[in-house]
Symmetry: C2
Subunit: 290 residues, 2 copies
Amino acid sequence: MPGIMAATTAVPLEETLVIVGVGLIGGSIAAAARRRGLARQIIGVGRNPERLEQARQAGFLDAVVTDPATAGPNAFIVFCTPVNHIAAAVERILPRLPAGAIITDAGSTKRRMCEALADWAGRDPTFLGSHPIAGSEKQGFEHADPELFAGRTCVITPLSGHRPADITRVRRFWAGLGMTVVSLSPAEHDQALASTSHVPHVVAAALADSLSESDRRLTGTGFASTTRIAAGDPDLWTAILCENAGPVADGLLRLQARLGDFERALRAGDVPALKSLLQTAKTKRDALDG
Amino acid sequence: MPGIMAATTAVPLEETLVIVGVGLIGGSIAAAARRRGLARQIIGVGRNPERLEQARQAGFLDAVVTDPATAGPNAFIVFCTPVNHIAAAVERILPRLPAGAIITDAGSTKRRMCEALADWAGRDPTFLGSHPIAGSEKQGFEHADPELFAGRTCVITPLSGHRPADITRVRRFWAGLGMTVVSLSPAEHDQALASTSHVPHVVAAALADSLSESDRRLTGTGFASTTRIAAGDPDLWTAILCENAGPVADGLLRLQARLGDFERALRAGDVPALKSLLQTAKTKRDALDG
């Protein structure tokens, strides 16, 4: 009976996927997991029962619970809440979870959170940090995209104490969403993301802020592209920047120095220096698409 | 005979459109003018006869000449060559053009060029500066887009001496490509474009330059968007930045100060200050799309 065989060949990786915080990221994880058959059921957790019920009716969730500890055995729990609230919430829930459960997250910073939860590495249930590098300046599950993660990188940040089976479980989940999974220490992650995401966010915001109302009509697609991420949620980004304050501040200092190099070359009319700065930048930018 | 009437209702604005420099911008002007029936014939001028012949065979041009002064009477000539070469080339050609011809350009800076050519304002033939605010980080007529200008702004920079008929003629041409046409003084233009285009270009380049090879896999769509324009031609952009060195250097100084505000708020852990900076930026960025 080929019909039944076809239905049973795709064994879900997880029995129960629990999404805590069903916004753009949480909704996209739910949609991607459903499309790829990664979990037998998807359960949503959140502060706003009305919004959760809307997400369930929109087809993102099979069920809604108020307490992730009631989601049943072997739950795979992904925290998609603001990054500065994750460690405390995880710490409250872990002691009440049955063995076989695992918590990971989708937060944009890792060092503080993973330090706060380091005692749980290697235990069962456990917490292991993740950062799927994908997102949008938009908010809410209405903008969720089941292909948001496909072809992108996910960083996981296991500590030396984590059990290999738990690392493999988290790695398989993100790989199942179509991501390339990379292991880094939490500090390495935060240092790198300061350069690739957090400093660019501040720069986009500073540029957007510099625009006078009368000059708005004189912007082109370049300005729109360079400042796009400045439309992101200020609360969310304040939390991200504060969680990674040191590396971001250092990155901003280096960038100010670089802008100073351009400024001095311009005032001096130093054409070769300017061209060299722009050529290096172009070479690096071209490599990003290549 | 409705067929003939239909064919004669769309009277071309110009007898002969001459494009000097048939790259991405020149090719897009030719393609847009052809699609909208703005000129009876389109003639290309350039340094590289082989490339020009390719552009003609690709359908962008009706004919190719080596000297724009031979294009015939009443030519509407648009210089799309690098901005630092326009004034000298226009100055060489104007004395050899017949009355009824007019030269404008598509250069990203206006003050130096318009000052150098100010003696020609109000004469016949004449030069009147333009800047259609549209572009791409790509190069070559192969990437030309007939809709590149539709719905965008074109700045024209007439001087007090220009004849109203000439101003109207240039204005109608860009409006015919679907652009909103705005008059500014050349200095006002350069001041505004420093903020909306030239400083953002330097910032995108500085960010692209800051990326280490090992961090490349840790970039997301935010980094890609924020640095996209850094892939632009370094020669072209060196010329643009040098033509507008003072306003761009001043803009970079202000931006460094703003990044310093963020840096200090981060080091001090000043959450309200950070949130306020990000909220102002988001409000301004949202207004750009609105």
